[in-house]
Symmetry: C2
């Protein structure tokens, strides 16, 4: 199966699960669920939850267990986009070709919709955990996975990175800060997906840490590749990117170095089928849009 | 010990714990922690975490276990106030006599500060759970408590109530909606505090459900009492309150009925020392400010 077709199959699995998570108890909640669904189903690539599923699948075949956690990561990713797009943040009117959440539902609702998705992420994982843990080991796995996700999405993770972005401005930014931002804002949720997938799949610590490191390299390579694509589209782009500090060739080299590191980690998975992540790395690094 | 003095002792316990939760890993996170601390330590009464501690104490004396959960509830309460005060929501410049978070740190930071506190609430509880569960029963308690908190704070709880408030306006509001708003926005986190305290304290389901019901009655009585106090201060107040639907006497009667119900539930705790909650109910219902 080609990687694009494989990605599509996993996407459908995740979309189906996300739809079942959108259950509301009474008519008073109709509007917030409508607003959450609007942003959850606007053509996201589901990259993070797919990564969680595939990381899980390295160690266990029964995908049911990982779905609530993968869905939660997508909810967290979506809430962060809704809040990032707000007028006081990036002030974006469109995302993926459609009006942003606050353009459709208003600013107050967009804030609450983001809050709602972040909260629902934990609610979904906790509800699954309480109803599906039959041994102390199961509890341990699920709680550990939730804790990893909460750290990567929190003030020492994604939110921390977003704060730098907001406060940064060009004058306050430097290379180290930019890399910290990429680690937390981009690589973090990819790492959260890999690590939570591996933990719930029953991986041992050695493999969990390998995947964590792989995720960091992949995430950084992915982000710098993104910068290169943005630059190719518009050289005068007025955004803080890697290209503000390095020339195009250095950036391309950096992507190569990072993806080589990512691939080397995958090569160390002796005898374990890790081809999907090799294909994914090549796919993300060689993409043209 | 008088109830005000007792409340002060518990407040100090919670404040100390909250301070230790404000640990950040590196200098890049300084600003968000500063903004979170600003709102966490602006003279809040700590009503909800105190209720969690006291509910826990009915069943177990070692308060250490309940502190992370009580602190998390206070973080959730604080984040909701920060977001409620935003220009696109209630647009408040002051809270407890001090400039609101967005007045000091700007709107973008205030949104992220709220996000950060909500996330940190779960991070704090999950971290405690993973490090302090030695049996399946402990995991079960902590996860069940977290799930209760997540439901009361979520789209079917506090956020759901806030959505009604935002969308409501006078024309779209009715008595039933108003009561739903009071249940979710005010009573909800009080119930979450009681229920999580009882669960972690090891209460059986009968007592957990009694405390849940007590919390609903106390929360509603507290909110209507609030409406009466607001009205006493300014009769022309242009806010959606119970007094828009009922006259002053009916409101006062309603507070009496609800607090009577709350007291009756407490009376059914045969032989268990529940005096604090009796005193608290009287204190909240008879307060003049």
């Amino acid at each position: 199966m080609s990687i694009t077709r494989e990605l599509k199959c996993y996407m459908d699995l995740i979309d189906d699960y996300l739809k079942t998570s959108m259950d509301h108890k009474n008519s008073y909640q109709k509007k917030i669920y409508e607003a959450m669904e609007y942003s959850l189903f606007t053509g996201g690539k589901r990259l993070r939850p797919i990564i969680a599923l595939k990381a899980y699948e390295i160690f266990d075949a029964n995908l049911e267990k990982i779905l609530p956690f993968a869905a939660a990561i997508e909810m967290i990713h979506t809430y962060s986009l809704i809040h990032d797009d707000l007028p006081s943040m990036d002030d974006d009117d469109f995302r993926r070709g459609k009006p942003t959440n606050h353009k459709v539902f208003g600013e107050a609702m967009a804030i609450l919709t983001g809050d709602g998705l972040l909260n629902l992420a934990f609610e979904t994982m906790l509800n699954y955990t309480i109803n599906n843990s039959h041994s102390i080991d199961e509890y341990k796995c699920y709680v550990r996975a939730m804790e990893e996700i909460s750290i990567y999405s929190g003030t020492n993770g994604m939110i921390g990175g977003q704060v730098l972005d907001v406060l940064g401005g060009f004058e306050n930014m430097d290379e180290l800060k930019l890399i910290y931002m990429y680690r937390t804002k981009t690589a973090g949720l990819i790492q959260a997906s890999l690590v939570s997938g591996a933990i719930i799949g029953g991986a041992n610590d050695e493999y969990i840490e390998k995947l964590r490191k792989f995720g960091l390299n992949l995430g950084l390579a992915y982000q710098i590749k993104d910068d290169i694509l943005d630059y190719a589209e518009d050289e005068s782009i007025n955004k803080m990117t890697y290209l503000k500090y390095f020339d195009l060739n250095t950036c391309k080299e950096e992507v190569e170095i990072l993806s080589k590191k990512a691939m080397d980690i995958l090569d160390s998975f002796n005898g374990i089928d890790i081809d999907f992540f090799k294909d994914l790395t090549k796919f993300l690094i060689n993409r043209n849009e």
